[in-house]
């Protein structure tokens, strides 16, 4: 038997090893719990309403007849409202973030005030935005009525602070050496920002925006105040058109006394989840694609 004076056995005491092990268990349990929850919801919904999944669900309009009831107008309504909200919020949000990060200069009272308010805006309850929209856009000075346009502006306000914060982080993550290098070649500040900083910040901004937008799709409280009717039998045709949205259509069916309609609500929830997963998947693929393209 070979004897050796070099011992490689662990010298970490038993209680330290127990701590190490139990913490790993704790972390695993946390992640399993959150995943289990979402899988349970999907399982329940699918069990309940899986048999209803067909194209009829997305091609039929709302109806009092269960055989011809579907979600087309609400899916289209959600797409219109959220689409326009994104169209309004992204340019404003990205430009605000660019200004704050690149052009506002040294941190002073003015920029500190803007920053504070952006943080505050991100914490304002959605229903408050709905009230503002009701008082100033749907009625009041603008009086655009209960339309896609009003709803899109309110949702844009809702996601704007998130987009600003995410874009600022993406811009801050761009190595300063890119800008320094560009300036040392005689580029103007704007050339350095537009040719190097912005392209490098696109992946972070895009994925963040998609995540913000996918939250907006599930949002119902503010739009409830803006006349998102639950029983709309037509698709939106423009910014001035009436609309409904998927979460409210689900709510309408779920609160019906007839059980078939409650099952239909479950099917609608599955559609909503499918849309959210698709958007998140797209965000991940986009991030991977842009990162790969950057590193060739």
């Amino acid at each position: 038997m070979a004897t050796t004076s070099t011992s490689l056995e662990s010298r970490v005491s038993i209680d330290r090893r127990i701590k190490d092990f139990s913490f790993t268990i704790f972390l695993s349990v946390s992640i399993i719990a959150s995943l289990a929850f979402i899988f349970y919801i999907i399982y329940r919904l699918y069990n309940n309403a899986g048999f209803l999944l067909s194209w009829d669900l997305v091609t039929f309009f709302p109806s009092y007849d269960i055989d011809t009831a579907g979600f087309q107008s609400s899916i289209m309504g959600s797409i219109w409202v959220v689409g326009f909200a994104t169209l309004f919020a992204v340019p404003v949000g990205v430009m605000t973030a660019l200004y704050l990060e690149e052009f506002a200069g040294k941190r002073n009272r003015f920029t500190a005030l803007i920053e504070l308010n952006i943080q505050n805006l991100a914490g304002v309850p959605a229903v408050v935005f709905g009230l503002i929209g009701l008082a100033f856009i749907a009625r009041g000075p603008l009086s655009w009525g209960f339309t896609v346009g009003s709803a899109a502006i309110v949702l844009a306000m809702l996601i704007l602070p998130v987009i600003i914060i995410i874009t600022r982080e993406a811009i801050r993550a761009v190595p300063p050496s890119y800008k320094e290098g560009a300036l040392a070649l005689g580029a103007t500040h704007w050339q350095a920002v537009s040719k190097l900083v912005i392209p490098s910040a696109v992946p972070g901004t895009a994925t963040g925006t998609i995540l913000a937008v996918s939250r907006a799709i599930g949002e119902s409280a503010p739009l409830l105040l803006l006349g998102a009717l639950s029983f709309v039998t037509f698709n939106p045709t423009g910014l001035d058109s009436g609309f409904t949205i998927l979460p409210l259509a689900i709510f309408k069916y779920a609160s019906d006394s007839r059980e078939e309609f409650q099952v239909l609500a479950s099917a609608g929830s599955l559609i909503l989840l499918a849309i959210l997963f698709a958007m998140n998947l797209f965000a991940i693929l986009l991030r991977d694609y842009t990162l790969r393209k950057r590193n060739v």
């Binding site: 200069g105 040294k106 190595p175 560009a182 060739v296």
Partner: protein
Amino acid sequence: MSMISNQSQASKVAASEPRKGSNPMSSSTASRKPSEPLKFVDPVFTLKDVAVSYGNFVAVSDVNMQIPSHDITAFIGPSGCGKSTLLRTLNRTNDLIPGAKVHGSLFYHDADLYHPSASAVEVRRRIGMVFQKPNPFPKSIYENIAFGPKVNGRPKKSELDDIVEKSLKSAALWDEVKDRLNESALGLSGGQQQRLCIARSIAVEPEVILMDEPCSALDPIATLRIEELMAELKKQYTIVIVTHNMQQAARVSSYTAFYVTEVNLTSDRRTGKLVEFNETKKMFSTPDDERTEAYVTGKMG
């Protein structure tokens, strides 16, 4: 003594009186007497009482020197002595740091670098900079070189091709990358990336290239290649290099400026000062100042 003779090297030194200590053996106390400040014919930079401050903090002060054209001037000194700060003021890169201020007069040929009518963008186009860490853009090799010419005008594709080839050849990188110009510059090795950054600087045809510790992130072989490249480039460009590596200063430069950090005992403020600026040969054999000698012989870090 005539101001100009026709030799190279020393000819640029228009010394107003015969300088002592030209004989390396005469390292007596007599040679300790500070010689006249170096003066050059048509210097690229002329610094008079230059100081750089950040808010209340004075990073470096009382700098008086001239930097000759088409030659390599090295800035050496311990960390925190303000040599990098001073280098960055030469092409107004320091402007980008909030609160940074330059005092005194800093002339590029006969133009005041900090005159209100001087454009920092134009200054930086004429006076390029290579940074400590290679910083290629996340673009292809071709686009890295083409970036400078593109932001400074609208060159035609054929012109760009020529510029890219010429710049890469000048930076001794062409043979290594000519078959993969459209691949990402981030895939190059550290030494190649730094030569790419030098090529990128050359592409906008500057007169001066400032180098801020360009080899500190590179291995000895890559360092050697950059040094060979510098020796080649000084025929066409004026180079000012900050280096922590004294052997490097001794190998590549013709003139060396030595800075130290002076600590004010009453206020505990630390300020960089220029101790001595002389021919590199003299700096490393018979410097005028004892502090220089202590530093270059390793007695003071």
